[in-house]
């Protein structure tokens, strides 16, 4: 059978052999190509075509006229960037982003170090299953639970009331909102985030610890000089990836709680785009905000990656 003759093909990708002609290769790979086709089409249609849809940034887009007939306005829509509403959204976004970088980002590292130091494998596995769980809870459920525990008629105000203290409602307090959002995020995903750090910790060569121990390094010095340097590459990788989405601070989470604290405290770029574009029909200006946000994310991720390379780290892709 001709199939038998194909067995020794597929050399390692690095070795370039003078292969058969294109036509023969298409024929050889036809089943595989057919398998790839639906997925490929999906990415083209749902990730690349919408990029083209961003032309409406330069249009006074009218849904009933469509892309073709809506009037062009050049950079007219960009005047949105001078509006106070936009500034409010931008400032809130940055506020949330900074809090998340400062509090949410390090949380999994600390938790992973704690988990890693559990000696009993059974207890360790149990705690791991517990802390991964909230990752699978949707935002609607999570916020409902939050409402039940710390909202106006919830557990915390009741307890405070019983103690004769003022019944604070943390769910409707605009000043507390950034902290609330960050704490919810930590509850949901700090545990999940430990997975990758735990793997990095496992990969640290135990000989380094031995050597350090022999040199007389105590527990804390070993942590400082062996453990932490061991997880630096992973940390940098995640930091770079985080930077790319830094302007997308918890969209669903914030949207769901926006009513409770008001737009002044809770409007971020994503909710701005949603309310002004989808709900109010200001398609062009909202799309302009969305586009600029996307471009900044891309620039941040590429820039941070370049910086990582400069310092001799691998970043998200090597080269």
């Amino acid at each position: 059978m001709h199939r038998v003759s194909r067995t020794s093909r597929r050399p390692p990708a690095t070795v370039r052999q003078p292969g058969p002609g294109l036509r023969a290769r298409l024929r050889r790979d036809r089943v595989m190509l057919l398998l790839v086709l639906p997925g490929f089409l999906f990415f083209v249609v749902f990730h690349y075509v919408p990029l083209l849809g961003n032309v409406i940034v330069f249009q006074d887009y009218q849904p009933y006229l469509g892309f073709k007939d809506s009037p062009w306005v050049g950079f007219g829509n960009f005047s949105v960037f001078t509006e106070p509403d936009f500034y409010r959204a931008l400032l809130n976004t940055l506020k949330f982003a900074v809090l998340q970088l400062a509090l949410f980002f390090p949380a999994p590292i600390g938790l992973a170090l704690l988990l890693n130091s559990i000696v009993s494998p059974r207890i360790k596995r149990f705690v791991q299953s517990v802390v991964y769980l909230p990752h699978f809870i949707g935002w609607v459920i999570l916020i409902s639970i939050s409402q039940q525990l710390i909202g106006g008629t919830g557990l915390l105000p009741q307890l405070l009331g019983d103690l004769g203290l003022p019944r604070v409602d943390l769910m409707t307090n605009p000043g507390f909102f950034p902290w609330l959002v960050t704490l919810q995020l930590i509850w949901k995903d700090a545990g999940w985030g430990t997975i990758i750090y735990l793997a990095a910790l496992l990969n640290i060569d135990t000989e380094h610890y031995e050597a350090a121990a022999i040199d007389g390094a105590d527990r804390w010095r070993r942590l400082w000089h062996v453990t932490l340097p061991g997880i630096v590459p992973v940390t940098l990788l995640l930091l770079i990836l985080n930077l790319g989405s830094i302007l997308s601070v918890g969209f669903e989470q914030i949207l769901l709680q926006r009513d409770a604290v008001g737009a002044d405290a809770a409007e971020v770029l994503d909710t701005y785009v949603y309310f002004h574009g989808v709900l109010d029909g200001q398609w062009g200006p909202a799309a302009a905000v969305g586009l600029v946000k996307g471009v900044i994310g891309l620039v941040l991720i590429l820039g941070a990656n370049k910086l990582a390379h400069r310092f001799g780290h691998e970043g998200i892709y090597s080269r």
Partner: protein, 296 residues
Amino acid sequence: MKTARPPWMEAPSRAGLAIKSVVIAVVCLLVLYPFVNIIATSLAGESEITRRGGIIAFFPSEPTLAAYRTIFAGGVVSHALLVSAAITIIGTALNLVVTIALAYGLSRPIVGGRFVLTTVLLTMLFGAGIIPNFLLVKALGMYDSYTSLIVPGLVSAFNFLVLRNFFQNIPAELLDSARIDGAGDLAILLRIVLPLSKAVLAVVALFYAVGHWNAFFNALLYLSDTGKWPLPLVLRLYVLQGQPVGGGTESPGEAVASIQAVQMAVVVVALVPILCVYPFLQRYFTKGVLTGAIKG
């Protein structure tokens, strides 16, 4: 008996151990207690909730299923539950088929494979934004249709990477020997690759399924017909926006469910499937997540 420890892992001091135990216990409690509280509240009767001012800390003294009867009598929650279940099952099945095909196709060097791979991976770096996606879904005629909850998220690049990396790590000799026995690409996928990948497939299926089950924003964006709403939107309406759950008429004498219990019952209903599947899949997470984290 004490196990011998290497010098760099000496036994912690007593005080250190105590502090660590307390911290770990607090972490576990912070995660688990909310679940206990909402389940307890959902089972409490009206009188008890009123009497205790809403605090049902661990277990109601007279547990009742009144809240659950109310939400299932109304029909809205049951209907949303059905919608969510159907979307989750059909959506996950389609996700898996397309993702497996793409990952398998790109797991070996094929003509144009690099190009397709780059096309897919680049999408992890940028997104077009809410507005263009919304307009696309509308232009494709999927607005107000359940397809809008399934098709725009057909493949996740991350899950694709997880599968592709796993497929690539299957020893080539195995596939080659199957080929010598006359198996084609498809037969190899179905009879060798997939059976070997059950664990990682389970994890990817869970990721997709949880995504569908929790789908909130797409549903909010694309479904204007409230009759089509899945569970997360109903949850928001009843619990976060405090709308009364339209229940059937209560027969007199039966325990009346309090609003708070009913709300928590809806939350519990939304949680149960996740809590049921989770323990069985939990042990595969690390493997699944890490195969995806290795650079493609």
